[in-house]
């Protein structure tokens, strides 16, 4: 790949064409998880535990099975035994064994001829529970008297003497923190808490599964990653992965929550038990909130040492996070790694504990761990800047990590664009907007790694010179468009001449999901590599036709051309001409690329928010919002802006209103959108964006992932703005009006 392309000067990249799936999505034609039917299809419903922690003494399905139209009931007894590790965790979460571990944990499932009959039958399945003591709060779960959720699951890292609910301990750092703190003029230390939140995708999980007695099956499912669905379902059911063909539907949002399985194996198990009839299983919103994968709740201690000029001399954090009743789900490692990743700090210590609690098995949620860490660290940083009367953006600039900085999590940075985001924020007009009474401005920054991951892409030249690209990363937010732009740019054809299809598991090698901000980065990079292969082949075909060496042919603007006057005088042979006669020149022309792409570029962001707080009620209104983030290069700027705006909106929701509320009985109190309060249109202002472009040298067009970073800064930025407006500092989220009003009275 010619590196000078990093400088820009593109024909298509950076333009904003209509997305190829747009027409289907504005006409209602696009098919999502629940939008498909199959002949002879059954409908399923799931019986869920109403208890946070309970032994399952008996399940009696006889009344349900007697109901007309009921075809199958499954319990854990219908699943294979002997699974270990994460496979066992997945099975255990799919359907409870001898113990229900959280409110909403699946206990049984039923398939019937209609959804109404299935729901009626589910109510007729009688489950006898012995209620066990439960714990849902992370700090309470670590206390000596906490009920033990699962004994013996702590891994090798956990120090002796910890409660059995503590299952993992992580520590890392560098430098001499003692000396660092000794060199500081100001040391501050506080504890911060964040509640669990949900990804809140509007499309509930839905699938249509079919599995025969021969162990062969198919599944249609809304997911961020159908190979993950295939592998996980196969493991949970004890079937061969290759025998399960999984086709992804269009996906109605995921944000990390659709990177794993929840109820998919139930549909397959019911199908197998019902003689192989296809089974459709669609979650209700309450099921989504109770029994899919919200993020972790966190309790975090932060200590920072700073000189009077704002130089950070040392910092230490201790984070505790619960990710449900299953080991390995809390993003405490990522949270620690992100905590100080924006800064160049000589001495750092990170410690973290993963803790079990009677809550659903956490899943990834947009930059998992980063929002909590940012809330804790960026809040404290802001407090210290205020105390020292320093400008918070300039303090960030003073301590900013740059190319060559040894990162807080270990390795040294390559080219990164954090400084550029701070400079762009400082230059933005929002920073000069006047503030009125009860108004305040807050800033915060954050980092996310981004991710490469297993990637397999195929590309084929059509007989008319158009190009079809097969990718394995579901399109959540415009990745078909961005991949088509890159392929069209490279081949030198029109954007509309490239069709990008998201294909099923049978059509490509294994692909990781659309997660880790990787679709445009990894599938895009692989698609460009595949295009290179096809271009090389097209050059060979032209060379053979012209009777010259393939090396003497170059690819220019969608056509093979003789490279220089010595190669011979031939008119350019266009891709359409090559495609039209490929049957006679050696057969189909395609390109294919499989890799775990390196060259991942981290993305940094800086947000600036203005809020107004009603002094009488503690209600916060977001007046103005600015997102500045390094995209590397924006392939389709409109969808980059969309990621920035959407991430900010989710972060604003997390900061102000969203939280999992558990009652004393361990039941989720707010499993509906009425009370799980995601931002509505009237809650938000326009969200201003600045796309900083510091190209990632590891990608042919300079792409960094852009999807995740933007969710993290709003949590501290809003807390900082609220503190500026009211003088009250909230160290726990959400900043709900009752909490803020109380803090304002007691400040």
């Amino acid at each position: 790949m010619p590196k000078d392309e990093l400088k820009g000067g593109f024909r298509l990249i950076g333009t904003r064409p209509n997305r190829p799936d747009g027409l289907d999505k504005v006409t209602g034609r696009a098919r999502y998880g629940a939008d498909i039917v199959a002949a002879n299809m059954l409908h399923a419903a799931v019986v869920r535990s109403p208890h946070a922690h309970a032994r399952i003494k008996k399940i009696d399905a006889s009344r349900a099975l007697a109901l007309e139209g009921v075809k199958a009931v499954v319990t854990r007894a219908d699943f294979p035994t002997g699974l270990t590790g994460e496979d066992w965790n997945l099975q255990e979460n799919t359907i409870a064994g001898d113990t229900a571990l959280y409110d909403g944990h699946a206990v049984a499932a039923v398939a019937a001829t209609s959804a109404l009959v299935a729901q009626d039958a589910a109510r007729l399945i009688e489950v006898e529970y012995e209620i066990l003591p439960h714990v849902t709060d992370v700090d309470a779960a670590m206390a000596p008297d906490a009920p033990v959720i699962r004994a013996g699951y702590a891994d090798h890292s956990v120090p002796e003497g910890m409660h059995p609910n503590v299952v993992r301990y992580i520590d890392f750092g560098h430098g001499d923190t003692e000396a660092g703190f000794a060199a500081a003029d100001l040391i501050r230390e506080h504890t911060y808490k964040t509640e669990a939140t949900h990804q809140g995708y509007i499309e509930p999980h839905a699938c249509l599964g079919q599995l025969g007695a021969d162990g062969r099956g198919e599944m249609w499912v809304c997911t961020q990653g159908h190979w993950y669905i295939r592998r996980m379902c196969a493991a949970v059911l004890g079937i061969d992965a290759a025998n399960l063909r999984v086709t992804p539907s269009e996906i109605g949002g995921g944000f990390g929550g659709k990177t794993t399985i929840f109820m998919e194996p139930l549909a397959l198990a019911l199908s197998r038990k019902a003689g192989g009839r296809p089974v459709k299983l669609v979650m209700s919103r309450a099921e989504v909130l109770r029994a899919t994968g919200p993020t972790a709740s966190a309790s975090m201690d932060v200590k920072i040492g700073m000189k009077k000029d704002g130089t950070i001399t040392a910092a230490a954090v201790n984070f505790r996070m619960q990710g449900g009743a299953f080991i390995g789900m809390s993003p405490v490692t990522e949270a620690l790694q992100c905590a100080f990743a924006c800064y160049d700090i000589p001495a750092l210590m990170h410690e973290g504990y993963e803790v079990l609690a009677n809550r659903p098995k956490a899943a990834a949620y947009r930059a998992p761990g980063a929002p909590m860490a940012a809330f804790a660290v960026e809040s404290l940083l802001d407090e210290m800047c205020r105390e020292l009367a320093l400008d918070p953006l300039r303090v960030r600039l003073k301590n900013a990590a740059k190319e060559g900085t040894k990162s807080s999590y270990g390795p040294s940075y390559n080219r990164i664009g954090f400084v550029e985001t701070l400079e762009a924020a400082l230059a933005h007009p929002n920073l000069a907007a006047p503030l009125g009474p009860n108004q305040g401005r807050g800033v915060a920054s954050a980092f996310w790694f981004n991710h490469g991951g297993e990637t397999s892409v195929s590309l084929a030249i059509g007989e008319d010179g158009t190009v079809q690209v097969s990718v394995g990363t579901p399109d959540i937010g415009g990745s078909r468009a961005s991949i088509a732009l890159m392929v069209a740019e490279r081949i030198g054809i029109e954007y509309d001449a490239v069709r990008v299809n998201v294909v099923e598991t049978g059509a490509l090698g294994v692909n990781e999901p659309t997660h880790g901000s990787r679709a445009t980065f990894a599938s895009g990079k692989a698609a460009v590599e595949a295009a290179e292969q096809a271009i090389a082949e097209m050059c060979r075909r032209a060379a053979a036709e012209w009777g010259i060496d393939a090396e003497a042919v170059e690819w220019v603007d969608g056509a093979a051309c003789p490279a220089g006057p010595n190669a011979g005088k031939f008119p350019p042979m266009t891709i359409a001409e090559i495609g039209a006669k490929m049957g006679g020149t050696g057969g189909p022309i395609s390109g294919h690329h499989e890799s775990v792409p390196g060259g991942v570029g981290a993305s940094f962001g800086t947000h600036v928010v203005d809020v107004e707080v009603d002094p009488a009620t503690g209600k916060t209104t977001v007046l103005r919002y600015l997102v500045v983030q390094d995209a590397g290069r924006a392939i389709h700027p409109a969808y980059v802006e969309g990621q920035y705006q959407g991430g900010a909106a989710q972060g604003i929701g997390w900061a102000l209103n969203e939280e999992y509320v558990y009652g004393a009985d361990g039941r989720l109190q707010n499993p509906v959108f009425l009370d799980y309060r995601i931002p509505v249109a009237s809650d938000l202002p326009m969200i201003d964006t600045v796309i900083v472009e510091v190209p990632n040298p590891g990608h042919p067009y300079g792409v960094r992932g852009v999807g995740e970073t933007g969710i993290a800064p709003p949590l501290p930025a809003i807390a900082n703005a609220v503190a500026a407006a009211t003088g009250a500092r909230l160290r726990s989220l959400p900043i709900s009006p009752p909490k803020l009003l109380a803090a304002m009275k007691h400040k």
Partner: protein, 160 residues
């Protein structure tokens, strides 16, 4: 369970179906009439993904029973483009402004926005935001949705 026969008009065509009285209009549209453009995001009237017009009134079809459709005129997303397939200005502007990411809320937002412009051809940003407050979108932060509605409204005013 006895099913009830219902005759109704959907997107200008007569439709007949048998429905269990517990089924919602959304169930009927999706499962019986094959009109899966209306989505179920919550089933409780909180998300707006199932928005349709019944006799010209914007409603959540998850909060209407299928039997209530008797004799009514229903308009869904599938009827928004003209019969030749030419998109409504709102549909076009949503694509042009990248006002959709995952696209799941989009049919409901479009139906609701169309109802807004029918009674208020020149809505302010605030009016658009409050009218659409019952249409949850988790992807976009609403910015591009509001811009697309404003732009479509301007075009429709100009064309009128």
């Amino acid at each position: 369970m006895t099913k009830i026969h219902v005759t109704t008009t959907v997107n200008g065509e007569t439709a007949e179906f048998l429905t269990d009285p517990r089924e919602t209009l959304l169930d009927v549209l999706r499962n019986q009439l094959g009109l899966t453009g209306s989505k179920e995001g919550c089933g409780t009237g909180d998300c707006g993904a199932c928005s349709v017009l019944v006799d010209g009134v914007l409603v959540s079809s998850c909060l209407v029973l299928g039997v209530e459709a008797q004799g009514k005129t229903i308009e869904t997303i599938e009827g928004m483009a003209d019969p030749k397939g030419d998109l409504h200005p709102l549909q076009r502007k949503f694509i042009e402004h990248a006002a959709l990411q995952c696209g799941f809320c989009t049919p409901g937002v479009l139906v609701a926005a169309k109802a807004l412009l029918a009674q208020n051809p020149d809505p302010t940003e605030t009016e658009i935001r409050y009218w659409l407050a019952g249409n949850l979108c988790r992807c976009t932060g609403y910015d591009k949705i509001v811009r697309a509605v404003q732009d479509a409204a301007a075009e429709m005013r100009g064309a009128a």
